[in-house]
Subunit: 237 residues, 2 copies
DNA sequence: CGCGCTCTTGATCAGGTTCAACATTAGTGG
DNA sequence: CCACTAATGTTGAACCTGATCAAGAGCGCG
């Protein structure tokens, strides 16, 4: 385990600023007033990580919740046979570590930064105190977890009921940012991880994308950038 | 939607009894004292369902949390192509409906009783009031949801990283009730549903079980009852 | 400019699905 | 309690999606 020291928010203007940013981007705290926010900030510790660092790994027993403030984090598991499975990619505002926090168990997942990343940490005691003091935060957390259960179950359902082609097509459409009129998808991960997330292999992803391109459904602009030419056509796949 | 009327707990000794049973079997309420329990019971409505009834279906917008008091419930989804996927089987003490409750969305899952079943219902308003009044209930709920996220992610990981044989072997071992020295597994569902849950087909399940039997790892006692002869051997599969 | 690494494409192979026939079990009414 | 029917489970054989292995192309980075 790497020894990370939280960049104290008392020592520099910069980290104080990022600290406030860290807290305010988070949906679960967004409804709090200034006084409450200040209290939250007093128990939250922002920490910098470089690209590729491991935050925690299966077997760890760290009881900390991590909230991504800046950057992105790859969350993955290892199957019993050692094969890697990407569970999801965390963007700013999302959190992890809650299971170890509420259940006093060891982690079953691995978390690793994909870029230089700032994460805010809250330890078990502090969070529990916050939750008992401000029950509305619990409601936000419940909402978030309920969503995540649903998403995870949907992902499992797709993997078992739909062929790769469809899973990929749906993924592309859902990753499309709705406000962007250019219909371009920026993949948040490389093909290897995308393949793992979708429950397939990089080779198959590549082949299916080629197929889509031949059907004029998409156009590859660069490895991570894809323009969708025909949304409806993709969804019919 | 079927019109279910809650069997009022004011009208009969029997339902009052089952009502109390309903509430007390539930882990999320188990830590409350008698006064608090009474308050919970005043907003919880036990309802009887016959075998095979649909509790809710994808598209419903009922904002109610259901807690299984007696019986069992099959929770499933339909893939985009209509194929059915069993998400899990609910036993007494477990609950569903929380996503619709916290997120004001329509259900994406189907819930259907597998036997005559009693479920307790709490509506959104009452639950939120309870959670704000007794934050400790939120912590219990969070714990439960965090566990469920983990389980669902593990299930997804297994389906993508392990072959059917292993998934089935693990399932059998994990379904084994530890206190039972006879090493007998009672399957809580039929082969079709088990196949769906494990992401495969009834035919494959059947074949693999035959294989296990030929290797003297298990013995089929009846369609739903399997004796495990060699736990370690199964886990090595 | 050259060494990684990721990505793409081709050829082969296998795990698991599908379709079909048969066996068994469970449920129902006489 | 048995007979009958429907549903569930089992087994066999053909087929197919997608994985694996291998080689080459493109790209980013020092």
């Amino acid at each position: 385990m790497s020894e990370r020291q939280p960049c104290s928010h008392h020592s520099s203007k910069d980290s104080l600023c990022s600290h406030k940013g860290c807290v305010t981007v988070v949906p679960i705290f967004s409804h709090l007033d200034d006084v409450q926010l200040k209290e939250v900030m007093s128990v939250v510790h922002p920490t910098h990580y470089q690209k590729g660092e491991t935050i925690f790994r299966a077997g760890d027993h760290t009881s900390v919740m991590y909230i991504v403030s800046k950057g992105s984090v790859r969350l993955y598991r290892l199957g019993e046979s050692g094969k890697e499975q990407v569970v999801r990619i965390l963007q700013p505002g999302e959190f992890i570590g809650e299971n170890a926090l509420f259940n006093e168990i060891v982690h079953e997942t691995y978390a690793e930064t994909m870029k230089d990343t700032v994460m805010c940490q809250i330890n078990r005691r502090d969070l529990q105190k916050l939750l008992l003091e401000y029950p509305s935060i619990s409601l936000k957390l419940l909402k978030e977890l309920a969503t995540r259960v649903d998403q995870s179950e949907q992902q499992a359902t797709r993997i078992t009921t739909e062929p790769v082609e469809k899973r990929l097509a749906y993924y592309l459409v859902e990753t499309l940012t709705p406000e962007d009129k250019s219909n371009e998808v920026i993949l948040p991960m490389n093909k290897k991880d995308l393949a793992s997330y979708l429950g397939t292999t990089p080779e198959t992803i590549s082949r299916k994308l080629t197929e889509f391109e031949e059907l004029a459904l998409i156009k590859r602009l660069s490895p991570k950038k894809i323009k969708i030419l025909n949304v409806d056509g993709l969804l019919l796949k």
